[in-house]
Amino acid sequence: MPQNELPSSQRRTFLTVLLAGLGTVLGAMAAWPLLRYLSPRDRGDADTKVTLARDKVPVGGAEFIDFRGRPAVILQPKPGEFVALTAVCTHLGCIVKWVNEKQEFLCPCHGGRFSTSGQVLGGPPPKPLESFNIKLDGDQLVIG
């Protein structure tokens, strides 16, 4: 065999390099499925609309719902006027609470306060709550 004419140490270096290359390829072939397995799957709801019965949201009240995988809150500040806001506080991500008596949101974590339109009224939150489109379709509210 011709390779036997090479000193074994040289053959060894050659083989080691080949094996390292092969190992990398095999490693990548194993890593890809692993990554895909662990990655969150596309929920396919990036622009789905959520419907809610109108009478779930009383005037001056609030209804918390799941909107595209995150908590949201629906308000009816005045009869026939609806607002949809994210319920995730813009400070550190706690879920805001609706305080009926004051008609405003209070974040239970660090006391952030938001108005019915999501504006910051006080506390540490840096940004207003994001709002979503909402419209009335018959007796159903369509959000998104």
């Binding site: 036997n4 074994s8 083989l15 080691t16 080949l18 094996l19 092969l22 390829v25 095999l26």
Partner: protein, 276 residues
């Protein structure tokens, strides 16, 4: 050392051999259990015993439908087996047959009754068993429409046209059913697709009981369209599966090459061990 390796590999292969043995076994049909009906009638001669033998070859038996499912009665009680109190119905008169079979085959019954065949019921027209036979009911297939049977009453010409219209679709349906069974064997969830094909098959079989060539032609297009959707999905899964196999094959080759390289590496050390 190479010797030992050979044995080792042979050993691995040997141990893998019994493998396929354990995979044997077709999808087991649900065979109906032994009932008192079968016990008595099985031993009888002539008119009263014949149905048992005929039924044994039937699609009803394959699907677990036994005597009492049609004729009523109590299949567990010798004394009361044929008592009307236990819902025994006996055998229907000719004109009652469509109602008798139609208790299960509802859709088909409706279309049949509205058809020329159905409207001639009791006036010499055919009913279910005229074509499908009784007891030895076989899986419905286009073969049931044939020169010999149809010309018992009328010319085969119209029937032949209906047969031509349904043969294609029927082939698609049985092909899909086979494909889905294959996929299921591999663990692919095919329940939904199976349901769709089954529903379409029913719809389609209803359709040609109208024995109205125009209706059959119209309905066929719609049925074929939804079957086409299932076929596309099956083709997608198939191509996924061959893609997988391709990558699996590549991985196997790479692993074998890596193993070979490791052995060569071992050889480089081995050569030095001799000197040392």
């Amino acid at each position: 050392m190479m010797h030992a390796k050979g044995w080792l590999l042979a050993g691995c292969l040997l141990l893998l051999l019994p493998g396929p043995v354990f995979s044997a076994g077709e999808e087991a049909p649900t065979i109906p259990r032994e009932t008192v009906c079968l016990q008595c009638h099985g031993g009888m001669e002539g008119r009263l015993g014949a149905p048992v033998g005929l039924w044994k070859q039937s699609i009803h038996r394959q699907n677990g439908i036994s005597c009492h499912d049609c004729h009523g009665g109590d299949p567990t009680d010798f004394a009361m087996a044929m008592s009307p109190e236990r819902g025994f119905r006996g055998a229907p008169e000719k004109a009652e047959i469509p109602a008798f079979c139609g208790r299960c085959h509802i859709g088909v019954k409706d279309d049949y009754l509205a058809s020329k065949h159905g409207r001639a019921l009791g006036k010499g027209g055919p009913q279910c068993v005229t074509c499908h036979g009784n007891h030895a009911v076989v899986k419905a297939s286009p073969d049931l429409i044939n020169d010999k049977d149809c010309t018992r009453c009328h010319s085969f010409e119209r029937a032949a046209r209906i047969k031509a219209a349904l043969t294609d679709t029927d082939r698609i349906i049985s092909g899909l059913e086979r494909d889905l069974a294959d996929l299921r064997r591999l663990g692919i969830a095919v329940k939904k697709m199976r349901g769709e094909v089954f529903a379409k098959r029913n719809e389609f079989h209803r359709l040609f009981h109208t024995v109205d060539v125009n209706k059959v032609h119209q309905g066929t297009a719609a049925v074929q369209k939804s079957l086409g959707e299932v076929a596309t999905e099956v083709a997608g899964i198939r191509s996924d599966l061959s893609q997988r196999k391709l990558w699996g094959g590549i991985a196997i080759v790479l692993l074998l090459v890596a193993g070979g390289l490791c052995l060569l590496l071992r050889r480089t050390y081995h050569d030095e061990e001799g000197k040392g």
